[in-house]
C-alpha cells in the first residue's frame, strides 16, 4: 500500500497538509500542532483521572484492578479504532457493535458448529467483518445512501442475522482449546510475571500500531483524511473516491471482526443478543480522543486515550461505589466537557 513518496509532494498532499495530521518537520512544530495538543490534553485528563481515583480509593491502583481496566478497554478500544477510520472520512458507522457480535457468531459457527481449527475461526471473524464493511461501503459509496442510514440498516440486519444464525442461543467455545487464550491469557505475564497484561490488551496495542501506520504512512490513510476534508476536490483531481470509501469501510469492518474475537474469547461464547449500544461507547471514545465528527482530522493515539478515559472513569466510579444513576450522569458530563474543551482548543488554535 505504501507509495514510498514523501506525502507532502504527492498530488493529494495539499489536502493532507491542510489536516493537522500531516507529518511536521520539526519537533517544535509537531508539539504545537493542534492534534498533538489535543492528544496531550486528553492524555493529561487521563492521568488526572487516574491520580484522582488513586487518592480517592486504595483499591484503585492495585494490579488486579488495573488489569481489569485494561481488559475492559480492549473491546471498546478496537471498535473505536474501527470507527476512527470511518469518522475521519466524515462518515459514521452505527453498525460496529452488532457487527462485532455477528463476527463472534460466525467464529462460533466455524469453530463450534463445523469443528474447524482455531485459525480458520479467527480468519472467518475477520473475513465476515470485512465483508459486512464492504457491503456498508457499497451502500454508501455506490448507492449514495447516507452513512447514518446505511449503517443503521446494517446494525439491525446484522443483529437479526446473529440471532437467526445462532438460533438465539449463545454459542460456546468449550470444544476449541486455546480460544479463551486470545483474550484471557497473558503472553506478557508469562515473560514478566509482575506484568499480567491480558492478551486482549496486547492485541489492542498491535491493532492500534497497525491502524496508525495505515492512517499515517499509506495511500489509504491519505485518502481517508482527504475524503473527510474535501471529497469533491479529491474526486475532481481524478481519484476514485467511491473505491477508497469502500476500502475504508471494509478495513473498518475487518477491525470489528477482531473486536468480535476479543469479546467472544473473553466470554468464552458468542452472545447473539449483545452489541447494540456498543457503537455509542466507541463513538464517544473517538470524539473524546479529538477526532472531529465533521471529518478530516483524527488520530489513533487520541482514540485509544479516549477509550481509556471512558474505562478508567467507569471503573473508578464503581470502585468508589458511586450510585449507578450518578455514574451515568457523570459519564455524560465528562463526554460533554471533553468535547467542549476540544472546541475551545480549536477556536484558540484558529486565532494563531
Amino acid at each position: 500500500m505504501t507509495t514510498g513518496d514523501n506525502p507532502l509532494t504527492t498530488p493529494t498532499a495539499t489536502t493532507a497538509a491542510a489536516t493537522p495530521d500531516a507529518p511536521g518537520f520539526s519537533l517544535k512544530a509537531r508539539l504545537f500542532r493542534p492534534a498533538t495538543r489535543q492528544k496531550l490534553l486528553a492524555f493529561a485528563s487521563l492521568i488526572a483521572l487516574m491520580v484522582f481515583f488513586s487518592f480517592a480509593s486504595p483499591q484503585f491502583l492495585q494490579t488486579d484492578n488495573l488489569v481489569s481496566i485494561l481488559q475492559s478497554t480492549a473491546v471498546n478500544g478496537v471498535l473505536a479504532i474501527a470507527c476512527t477510520f470511518v469518522i475521519i472520512t466524515a462518515g459514521i458507522d452505527l453498525s460496529v457493535g452488532t457487527l462485532m457480535t455477528f463476527c463472534a457468531v460466525m467464529a462460533g459457527v466455524v469453530l463450534t458448529y463445523m469443528g474447524m481449527p482455531l485459525a480458520l475461526g479467527i480468519a472467518a471473524a475477520i473475513f465476515f467483518g470485512a465483508l459486512a464493511g464492504f457491503v456498508s461501503g457499497v451502500l454508501i459509496a455506490k448507492l449514495k445512501i447516507p452513512p447514518f442510514i446505511a449503517t443503521l440498516g446494517m446494525m439491525m440486519l446484522l443483529k437479526g442475522l446473529s440471532l437467526v444464525i445462532s438460533g438465539t442461543k449463545p454459542i460456546y467455545f468449550n470444544d476449541t482449546p486455546g480460544f479463551t487464550a486470545i483474550s484471557q491469557d497473558s503472553l506478557i505475564g508469562d515473560l514478566i510475571p509482575s506484568l499480567p497484561i491480558p492478551n486482549a490488551v496486547l492485541i489492542l496495542f498491535l491493532v492500534a500500531v497497525a491502524a496508525s501506520i495505515l492512517l499515517n504512512r499509506t495511500i489509504l490513510g491519505r485518502y481517508t483524511f482527504a475524503l473527510g476534508s474535501n471529497e469533491e476536490a479529491v474526486r475532481l483531481s481524478g481519484v476514485n473516491t467511491d473505491f477508497w470509501k469502500v476500502v475504508v469501510y471494509t478495513v473498518s469492518g475487518g477491525i470489528c471482526g477482531i473486536a468480535g474475537l476479543l469479546i467472544a474469547s473473553r466470554l468464552n461464547s458468542a452472545q447473539p443478543a449483545l452489541g447494540q449500544g456498543y457503537e455509542l461507547d466507541a463513538i464517544a471514545a473517538v470524539v473524546i480522543g479529538g477526532t472531529s465528527l465533521s471529518g478530516g482530522t483524527g488520530t489513533i493515539v487520541g482514540t485509544i486515550i479516549g477509550a481509556f478515559i471512558m474505562s478508567v472513569l467507569t471503573n473508578g466510579l464503581r470502585i468508589l461505589s458511586v450510585a449507578q444513576e450518578w455514574q451515568t450522569v457523570i459519564t455524560g458530563v465528562i463526554i460533554i466537557l471533553a468535547v467542549y474543551a476540544d472546541i475551545l482548543r480549536r477556536r484558540s488554535s484558529n486565532k494563531h
Binding site: 484492578n65 452472545q271 471503573n315 468508589l320 449507578q324
Partner: protein, 317 residues
Amino acid sequence: MIQRRAVTTTLGAALIGLSGFAQAQQAQEIYIPLVSKGFQHQFWQAVKSGAEQAAKDLKVKVSFEGPESESMVDKQIDMLSAALAKKPQAIGFAALDSQAAIPLLKKAQAAKIPVVAFDSGVDSDIPVTTTTTDNKAAAALAADKMAELIGKSGEVALVVHDQTSRTGVDRRDGFVNRIKSTYPNIKIVSVQYGGGDQLKSTEITKSILQASPNLKGIFGANEGSAIGVVNGVKEMKRNGKVVIIGYDSGKQQKNAIADGSMAGAITQNPVGMGYKTVEMAVKAIKGEKLPKVVDTGFFWYDKTNITDPKIAAVLYD
C-alpha cells in the same frame, strides 16, 4: 485557555466531593456488593430495596449494580471485577451468562470471598447458595390460570422479554410446555419477543391481535411485556375479549389488575430475594452451613387478593 481551566476546576471540585463520599463508605466493616442482571426495572429496584433492608437489619454495607440490558454480558463482568477489586467479605451475583463469569468466580473462590447467587443463579459449584424463583413452575401456574379463564380451549399467544436470558427461556418454556402437556384444545398461535420494552411489546401485541381475530388470551412474561400487552389490547379495542396474564408487579400492572383490564399476574418475591441474598451472605461470612437453594417463592394475584397483606407485601410499585 481560561475557560478550559474553569472547566477543569469545576470537574476537579466535583470529583473531590465524590472522594469525600468514598472515604466515608470505607469506614464500614462488612461490605457485600450485589452485582445484578439489571438495574432500571422496578423488579431490580425491589431486589435492591430488600437488600438494603437486610443491610440495615444486619448492620452491614451493601451496594447494588447491574447492566442496562440483560444482553450486556461483558459489562456485567466488568462490574463483577470492580466489585472484587474492592475486597468485599462476600458478594451477591446474578449471572447473565454463567460461563463468562467463571474465571472471576474462581478468583473470588481463591480469595475466599463467598459468592451468593441470586435470581437465575450461576451454573457452577462455586456459589455457597442460590436464592431464586422457580420461573418454570411459576409460568406453568400462569398457564393453568389462563386455561381456567378461557375455558380450556382456544387460541393464546405469548409476549416474552427475550429469547436468550434464563428467565425469558424458562417462563416461555414453563408456559408453553404446560399448555402442550395438559390442555390439548388450547393452541399457541404466536410467541414474540419485545425486549421487555413497553412500546415494542405494544406493537407486537397489536400485530398478534391483527393476525388472530379469535385470540382468547395473551401471557406477558415480564413487567414491560405485560404492560405492552395491556396497551396493545386497549389500542385494538379488544379489552374484555382477550384474557391478559402478566408477570411481576409495578404500579401500572397493579392498576391494570385493579381495573380489570388484566386478569391477574404471577409475582415473584423480589424484596425477599434481595433480603435473603444479603442474609445468606452474612451467614456465609460467619461460616454457617447453607442450603444449596433458597426458594424465594412466587404467587398468583388478581383482583380478589391484591390487597391481601401477604400479597401486598411482595408487590412493588
